[in-house]
């Protein structure tokens, strides 16, 4: 019976927390714009095969009766030189781009986080030196260059492009967590847990990590835009997705040599890239507003 009472109280507190977070998020109308766009893009990426007008355009398809048609009712974004519907390919493009970003961030994020956490907690020990010097080395090279370098020694494919970005991405999380952990390590609540005899695992993952969530989530959100941009850049130079895979970067790359006559082939996918980056940026700002300040109860 008492358990139920506590359950109730806990649930009501959780509900209140959610309400407060929603309030903070919605203070800035742009965040709502970002959220809507993100939702729309995720929807498109998930259901692309069902909502595109000409799903066959996404794969190996050729229709010489419809080549190089400018935007019309049947093909709102026009067709490319193989007769494929640009709208469909753009929608599928979101699928590949978003999928790649999700994979990179969800794998490299945690790896970088854990490394940074451990390095920060064991500051000034050999663990710190090894991890952070490795981080320094990777950070010293700009991400795009690093990804290019890795890609160029592997066979070009979308999977290898993802791998290359992974290699370039983890150090940023490591460094961010290192800094946060170093400063949190000396807080009294961490000391209190240590003095009581809590295990290191508990301190790292139950005391320190919850206090890092805000910058982590914000960064992840903003990173989606970055990963898509870099992935697109890799595809643009031919090291990422190979034809006929409709990755957004490949679309722009293929079409760029036909500008300005067949402008619709390049312009619409380019706008699509811009839209997804903008969406995640606005959304990331909203997350920052929501989780960032903790002043006043």
């Amino acid at each position: 019976m008492e358990k139920d009472l506590y359950r109730q109280r806990e649930l009501s507190r959780i509900k209140e927390d959610i309400q407060r977070n929603v309030y903070k998020f919605t203070r800035n109308p742009l965040s709502i714009v970002g959220l809507s766009l993100v939702c729309m893009i995720i929807f498109i990426a998930t259901f692309a095969p069902y909502i595109s007008p000409h799903p066959q355009s996404a794969g190996k398809y050729v229709n010489f009766y419809e080549t190089c048609k400018p935007p019309s009712l049947a093909h709102p974004f026009g067709t490319d030189r193989f007769g494929r519907d640009v709208l469909t390919r753009t929608l599928y493009g979101y699928r590949y781009s978003l999928g790649m970003a999700a994979m990179v961030i969800s794998i490299m994020g945690p790896i970088g986080i854990v490394l940074g956490l451990i390095a920060g907690y064991y500051r000034n020990s050999w663990v710190d030196t090894v991890i952070m010097r490795a981080t320094d080395i990777f950070i010293a090279v700009p991400p795009l260059l690093l990804a290019l370098a890795v890609c160029s020694v592997l066979t070009p494919s979308i999977f290898n492009a993802m791998l290359a970005i992974c290699v370039a991405w983890w150090p940023w999380y490591a460094r961010m967590l290192y800094e946060i952990t170093c400063s949190l390590k000396n807080e009294f609540f961490v000391q209190a847990a240590e003095l009581t005899g809590a295990s290191t695992f508990h301190i790292l993952f139950r005391e320190i990590i919850p206090n890092c969530l805000a910058p982590i989530l914000t960064k992840m959100s903003l990173d989606v835009g970055w990963v898509i941009l870099i992935g697109s850049a890799l595809s643009f130079v031919g090291l990422g997705a190979q034809p006929p895979t409709p990755d957004l970067g490949t679309l722009v790359a293929d079409a760029s040599s036909y500008l300005p006559e067949l402008w619709w082939e390049a312009v619409f996918p380019a706008f699509a890239i811009m839209l997804v980056v903008l969406a995640f940026n606005l959304f990331g700002d909203g997350i920052d507003d929501m989780l960032g300040e903790e002043k006043g109860g």
Binding site: Q19, R20, Y23, K24, G296
Partner: protein
């Protein structure tokens, strides 16, 4: 009866938050006469700093809103003044010393630079001073607050100084522009006892010399007792008692004031009691009527119904409590 220098009348300040409004200030009445030292005593969260920020008009306007009342300074309402007049008052008439001297000084500029900025912005006559004169003035200002070796002090950065010295510098900058009223918000609170004593004495001396009025805000009763002529006691956004300092400490009338004094540890021993039962009310839904009534042992039915105004209990001793309603 001469007019007060500062007269706050029925001030209401609310703050907009997620769940509604925080009704922080609930009809504040507060007056300071020229040359007076007035204390404002109250615990954390009672609204003292909000009141002072309202006077200086540095409240963050959203989320804060001023729901009513006036703040008369020299007869003119500060709340309705234009920017020009307001700037003039901030430059020349009123100044504030903040609680934390470290936060009040810019860490990337030298002391000399910061002082010069203040001096050259202050008044017409000061603004037209030449550089050498400004430097001489900064040294003079530092000497007034008994800082050793003023010449060298000008070249220091705030981080090189101790807390006591930083507080003195804040006092000196405040005094440059405070010709009529100085608001000291918990001065010396973050400092050691011996240094705090020095700082309070310093403020007292300078203020006596110049005839400036002072509002001394503190949650520590001891400092207020020794440095002020009159005291206001504040609780949860209302003034509950106002009296001459000696009268308040010899004969506190409001149950809250009595509770505060009883809870203050004394050098003669005797324990600290159990404190005041209950807790400070939430401003989002404050108690009706007298805001102290849920914690008061003398509570009467009328207390939850109407808000008590100031009653004149003795000469120059006012209490906002219905216990004193029928007194002369």
């Amino acid at each position: 009866m001469p007019t007060p220098l500062l007269d706050i009348r029925d001030l209401h300040v609310w703050f907009r938050v997620f769940k509604g409004f925080l009704r922080v200030l609930d009809g504040i009445n507060f007056a300071v006469w020229p040359g007076e030292k007035v204390g404002l005593v109250g615990e954390m969260g009672c609204g003292k700093t909000t009141t002072m920020k309202a006077i200086m008009r540095i409240l963050p306007i959203p989320p804060a809103t001023i729901r009513g009342g006036e703040i008369l300074f020299g007869g003119k309402d500060i709340l309705r003044m234009g920017q020009g007049q307001l700037q003039k008052i901030r430059r020349e008439k009123i100044s504030m010393i903040f609680q934390d001297p470290t936060a009040a000084l810019n860490p990337v500029f030298k002391i000399g630079t910061q002082l010069q900025d203040v001096i050259s912005c202050t008044s017409e006559s000061e603004r037209s001073l030449k550089n050498e004169d400004i430097k001489a003035r900064t040294i003079q200002v530092l000497k007034e607050v008994s800082l050793p070796d003023p010449e060298r002090m000008l070249e220091n950065y705030p981080i090189q100084l101790s807390g006591g010295m930083r507080q003195r510098i804040c006092i000196s900058t405040a005094l440059v522009s405070a010709k009529e009223l100085l608001i000291a918000d918990e001065p010396g609170t973050s400092l050691d006892v011996t240094i705090k004593d020095q700082i309070l004495r310093l403020i007292g001396e300078i203020v006596e010399k110049r005839g400036t009025s002072v509002i001394l805000i503190s949650h520590a009763l001891g400092a207020v007792r020794n440095m002020t002529d009159r005291v206001y006691v504040m609780y949860a956004g209302s003034m509950v008692e106002a009296a001459k300092t000696k009268d308040l400490f010899d004969n506190p009338l409001h149950p809250y004031s009595q509770g505060l004094i009883a809870a203050t540890p004394k050098l003669t021993g005797g324990g600290v009691g159990e404190g005041i039962p209950g807790r400070i009310p939430e401003y989002i839904d404050p108690p009706a009527g007298c805001r102290f009534h849920p914690r008061c042992e003398h509570v009467m039915p009328i207390c939850s119904d109407k808000k008590p105004p100031f009653f004149e209990a003795n000469e120059d001793h006012q209490v906002a409590c219905f216990l004193f309603q029928n007194d002369r």
